[in-house]
């Protein structure tokens, strides 16, 4: 049966990963109809939501883990996957459990997680540092220190794309990696405005200010263009999620020799476990409904998980797969997660609305010269109002 | 509702009863009554904006009256569609369908009505024959001269075999020469068809030459309805008198005085004997009146037969070929006088004037009605 799947995976690495999913699904005798919408989640999500609420749903659709689809589920537009999950023993295999938890509403499972993404990665270009005559930094602080040298060599110290979510992600990475997991949880999980207003947070904003100085002059929009700057040695480094890995891989770069990755920015060995999940709108057509079940099962299937995540550069959602073929960076990530260095991602902790406001704030912060104090003040009121 | 139609004039072809029409707050026609006889050529004459087109559009059914009724051939058509009223209409701008040939223009209405092909052809051929536009049948309006277009526009009414023809200033867009030619043609057409025709114009020459009767309108009210000669020679009020005739009738303001038993008219110290004037009521001395004299009824020098004469000075001379128009200063007034084209006067010449009082008109100074 033909099943239309919408997603916003259109960059080189992403497309290759999707191809694996499609291959696996087609192998079950069904047919994957690809509904890629380029841009980013921001462009694609409204279209998906319009179609679901408009009564013309696709077979399956990508969302980020977390609260994005909450209301769709509550309005009964989404399909209950509990049966499939039980059959596949998702409760046992999916790790960390928080992933499944955010698919669960009122005890029922509504989504199939497909991968784990973590934001707290600093990608460095070895070539750039060689040119600048500095050693490749081992953590964020060293990177900041190396900034002036890079600049002198005519190299952009920190690459940062213009899209708001990139600035936002960078900031959140700083919160957990520089400020520690506790601070992260207090601010985003507990929404503790006092902590948000406190000195610890102030330090984060100072760090963000440093990052802002280093990122000046990137002049690119898309994240992968920023990654490309690192990849070609035009920029020193980039804070970007593990999906950047895919770009290096496609360009045949080798971790360690061509580039270096520092999970947790080399400071705090904790990664947030966000990621993507597939949701399945309620369909009338029985055959398609069946195909949905097949797709859900296929997604969680170990073989698919390996093939997909290798291409995508993300971590599989189950601990029981063998990733011997994974490269160094991915192995580092898997190791951290296996050690329990996990935190819930912001997508799951705060609403899209607050997230958007935070993006606006960060985007403004990184592109203008508003003071650290003002930014923090606005951040506090935002956390206060968050639900 | 009582049967008002029985009150309509028996011999009448079109009857209008208490017609009122307002555009929003502006009342254009109010309680207008008019009976048009069968086969009559009626001209509606009036200055621009007086409501002539509005009245005609009501008759045609293109405007809905606010109140009142319209009868055509004794049938109440107040609420009927234009096409069912048995009328044909000719417009000032010709209103030919530009994308159709003349033949198509003529036959459009018939085709819409679903007539048989040969019947259509027969009628078109007949109309084209009457109007002598056979050679033009395959041309488009853009390839026709103004006069030809107007003929086609008339033809379009002709093919529909209607009882009543409505013309809305059909000749206004043509130049003087063509206008006088087509005027003759329309007159001839009426003489041969003998249809009822209602013709709107603000050109008094057209009105005078074409009409069996003229209805003179002023702001939606019919001032006088009479045959052309009566209108010209015995206008009912000052408006009608001034409206008809070119150049206008001369108006002198003054009062009636008793001169040795005879009632005379006196203005600026000069008096005019009123002998020969046929008043409709007794003339009382002291009454403020207006004397109206048409330019051709003032006689100059050798034209004067007998009777009193006055002195005047030539102010302006306007030779017009066949006629010569003199503007004379006389007793503080300017009088226009029409004389033969061959008689010329230099400006400043003194002349003697005589007045033909039997052709004059006297109006009350207040009501401006004819006395």
């Amino acid at each position: 049966t033909d099943l239309e799947v919408t997603h916003w995976w259109t960059s080189g690495g992403e497309a290759a990963a999707v191809a694996e999913l499609a291959k696996a699904f087609d192998a079950t005798g069904n047919h994957w109809v690809d509904g890629a919408i380029a841009g980013s989640g921001g462009t694609a999500r409204p279209i998906m939501i319009s179609r679901i609420t408009g009564g013309d749903p696709m077979g399956a659709t990508q969302f980020n883990h977390g609260r994005q689809a909450e209301e769709l589920v509550q309005s009964g537009l989404m399909r209950d996957l509990t049966d499939v999950a039980e059959k596949g023993k998702w409760k046992d295999v999916i790790k960390p459990q928080s992933l499944l938890a955010s698919c669960t509403i009122n005890g029922k499972i509504y989504c199939a997680p497909v991968n784990i993404h973590s934001w707290q990665w600093l990608w460095l270009s070895n070539e750039a540092f060689k040119k600048a005559g500095v050693e490749v930094p081992k953590n964020w602080n060293e990177f900041v220190a190396a900034g002036p040298a890079l600049k002198k060599a005519g190299i952009q110290p920190l690459a940062l794309g213009g899209q708001p979510w990139q600035a936002n992600g960078l900031f959140d990475a700083l919160v957990i990696s520089v400020g520690g997991t506790d601070l992260y949880n207090k601010v985003y999980k507990d929404k503790d405005a006092k902590v948000a207003a406190g000195p610890d947070m102030a330090k984060i904003f100072e760090a963000a200010d440093q990052a802002r100085q280093l990122a000046k002059g990137s002049n690119v929009q898309d994240w992968n263009q920023a990654t490309n700057l690192v990849l070609t040695g035009k920029a020193g480094g980039q804070i970007m999620g593990d999906w950047a890995q895919g770009e290096f891989q496609i360009a045949n770069k080798k971790a360690g020799t061509d580039y270096t990755c520092l999970p947790g920015l080399g400071l705090n060995q904790t990664l947030t476990t966000g990621g993507d999940a597939f949701y399945f709108p309620l369909l009338k057509d029985a055959e398609k409904s069946k195909a949905q079940e097949v797709l859900a099962a296929t997604i969680v299937d170990p073989k698919t998980q390996v093939a997909f995540n290798l291409k995508k550069g993300s971590v599989p959602i189950r601990g029981d797969v063998d990733l011997a073929t994974a490269n160094d960076c991915m192995k580092k990530g898997i190791a951290i997660i296996a050690k329990g260095g996990v935190a819930t991602s912001t997508d799951q902790l705060i609403s899209a609305d607050t997230q958007k406001q935070k993006e606006d704030l960060m985007s403004e912060f990184f592109n203008t010269s508003i003071s650290v104090k003002d930014a923090q003040k606005r951040f506090v009121s935002l956390i206060e109002a968050a639900d | 509702m009582t049967d008002l139609s029985s009150f309509a004039n028996r011999a009448s072809s079109v009857s209008i009863r208490d017609l009122s029409l307002s555009f929003g707050a502006v009342t254009v026609l109010e309680n207008l009554n008019l009976d048009i006889r069968d086969g009559e050529f009626l001209v509606l004459l009036g200055s621009s904006g007086c409501g002539k087109s509005t009245l005609l559009n009501c008759i045609a059914g293109l405007l809905e009256p606010t109140d009142g009724q319209i009868f055509i051939k004794d049938r109440n058509v107040t609420w009927e569609e234009p096409k069912d009223r048995g009328i044909g209409m000719v417009f000032q701008s010709y209103a030919l369908y530009p994308q159709m040939t003349v033949e198509k223009n003529l036959s459009f209405g018939l085709r819409v009505a679903g007539l048989a092909k040969d019947e259509i052809d027969r009628r078109v051929a007949r109309a084209a024959g009457i109007l002598q536009i056979e050679p033009l049948l395959n041309r488009k309006p853009a390839a026709l001269s103004g006069g030809q277009r107007q003929r086609v526009a008339i033809g379009r009414a002709l093919v529909r075999d209607v009882d009543v023809f409505l013309f809305d200033e059909p000749l206004s867009n043509l130049d003087a020469k063509l206008r006088s030619e087509l005027r003759v043609e329309i007159k001839r057409l009426h003489q041969s068809l003998k249809n009822t025709m209602i013709y709107v114009t603000h050109d008094q020459i057209e009105a005078l030459t074409l009409a069996d009767r003229i209805a003179i309108m002023k702001s939606g009210v019919i001032q006088q309805l009479d045959d052309p000669m009566t209108i010209y020679n015995r206008p009912k009020n000052k408006f009608v008198a001034g409206f008809i005739g070119s150049p206008s009738m001369n108006f002198l303001k003054g009062e009636l005085v008793d001169e040795g038993g005879h009632i005379a008219f006196r203005t600026n110290g000069v008096s005019f004997s009123l002998d020969g004037y046929q008043a409709s009521e007794a003339l009382a001395a002291g009454r403020k009146v207006i004397l109206g004299l048409r330019p051709e009824h003032v006689k100059v020098d050798s034209d004067i037969g007998h009777g009193e004469t006055h002195e005047a000075v030539v102010d302006i001379e306007e030779p017009m070929g066949a006629d010569n128009l003199l503007w004379l200063k006389h007793a503080g007034h300017t009088l226009s006088v029409r004389i033969g084209g061959e008689r010329r006067y230099a400006v400043g010449t003194k002349v003697r004037l005589g007045f033909d009082m039997s052709m004059a008109s006297l109006f009350d100074a207040v009501s401006e009605e004819r006395i």
Partner: protein, 300 residues
């Protein structure tokens, strides 16, 4: 004569029935979509609807938040700057070009085609092209620098203070051709004798334009104004294609705020509040005008 009974006035509703039937789509659009949609939007702007509309009313909360958001303020400012400049320059450039084209020039058709062709392209395409032309590395700046002027800086799309002018350049490129066309039509509609009278009076050309011709072109200016203004309010595609609102929030516009909050932030209430503010602005500007233009004048 038949005793014909005078028929009464027919049913008012049945009058002009065909016309009413023909207007049904228009009436539905006007009533259901434009009016209904607007009312619906206004009502739900007082709720805390998130992803789906929910009738939980929260008073003016959304509006308070809206006016507290610096992005909204920036959007409004940007739209004001863009709007005013776009109006001025569209009219100015359009008029000047039209006036030049009206000088009985050779190659009029060629010039007109050149000026008008961008109008056939979408804002998306316009945005992409100008993003490219203004790209600091490959575009104008890069070219000038490679010619030897190393310090030359022309980088509107990546300079927050002037990014809106970068968008303006593209917007004008796309839209002035149509304005030129309208103006040209207007100029051609002016009585030749007016020009002659002005020449006989010894009035210089530019004074004739300013004091006589332009005031006579009022209807054209109004039509043009409506077209430009309705385009300005809707400004969205161009920004998205050219800068995505960046750098930072520097080139955000209200329509984008509405879209982003309705769909990305999944906060319909906020989006509705923002669109209500936009509608209010439009109403304040347009309704009096529409009343004057269409309500006041009647013809049968």
């Amino acid at each position: 004569m038949a005793k014909s009974v005078a028929p009464g006035r027919p049913n008012q509703f049945l009058r002009n029935l065909n016309s009413k039937i023909a207007c049904i789509p228009m009436m539905l659009t006007a009533l259901v979509i434009f009016l209904g949609g607007t009312v619906w939007t206004v009502i739900y702007s007082f709720t805390n609807s998130k992803l789906l509309p929910r009738a939980t009313f929260v008073g003016f909360d959304q509006y308070e938040r809206l006016w507290a958001a610096s992005r909204w303020i920036i959007s409004i400012q940007n739209l004001a700057i863009y709007g005013v400049l776009c109006l001025i320059f569209s009219l100015l450039i359009g008029f000047v070009l039209a006036a030049l084209m009206d000088q009985k020039i050779r190659f009029e058709n060629t010039f007109r085609t050149i000026f008008l062709y961008p109008f056939a392209l979408s804002f998306i395409v316009t945005g992409l092209v100008w993003q490219w032309v203004l790209n600091p590395e490959y575009g104008v700046q890069g070219v000038v620098r490679s010619l030897g002027w190393e310090s030359f800086t022309f980088d509107p799309l990546y300079t927050p203070e002037i990014v809106i002018y970068g968008i303006l350049i593209a917007g004008l490129w796309q839209g002035t051709g149509l304005v030129m066309c309208l103006m040209l039509a207007g100029l051609r509609g002016i009585d030749e004798d007016i020009w002659k009278a002005a020449r006989v009076d010894g009035i210089p050309m530019w004074k004739t334009y300013i004091f006589i011709v332009i005031p006579m072109m009022r209807p054209v200016f109004i039509t043009t104004l409506v077209l430009i203004a309705s385009g300005i309010v809707k400004l969205y595609d161009l920004v998205v294609a050219q800068t995505s609102g960046g750098p930072g929030n520097a080139s955000e516009v209200p329509a984008k705020y509405v879209y982003d909050y309705m769909f990305q932030a999944q906060n319909l209430g906020q989006g509705f509040a923002a669109s209500t503010m936009m509608l209010l602005t439009v109403a304040i500007i347009v309704v009096p005008w529409a009343y004057l233009e269409f309500g006041g004048r009647k013809r049968v």
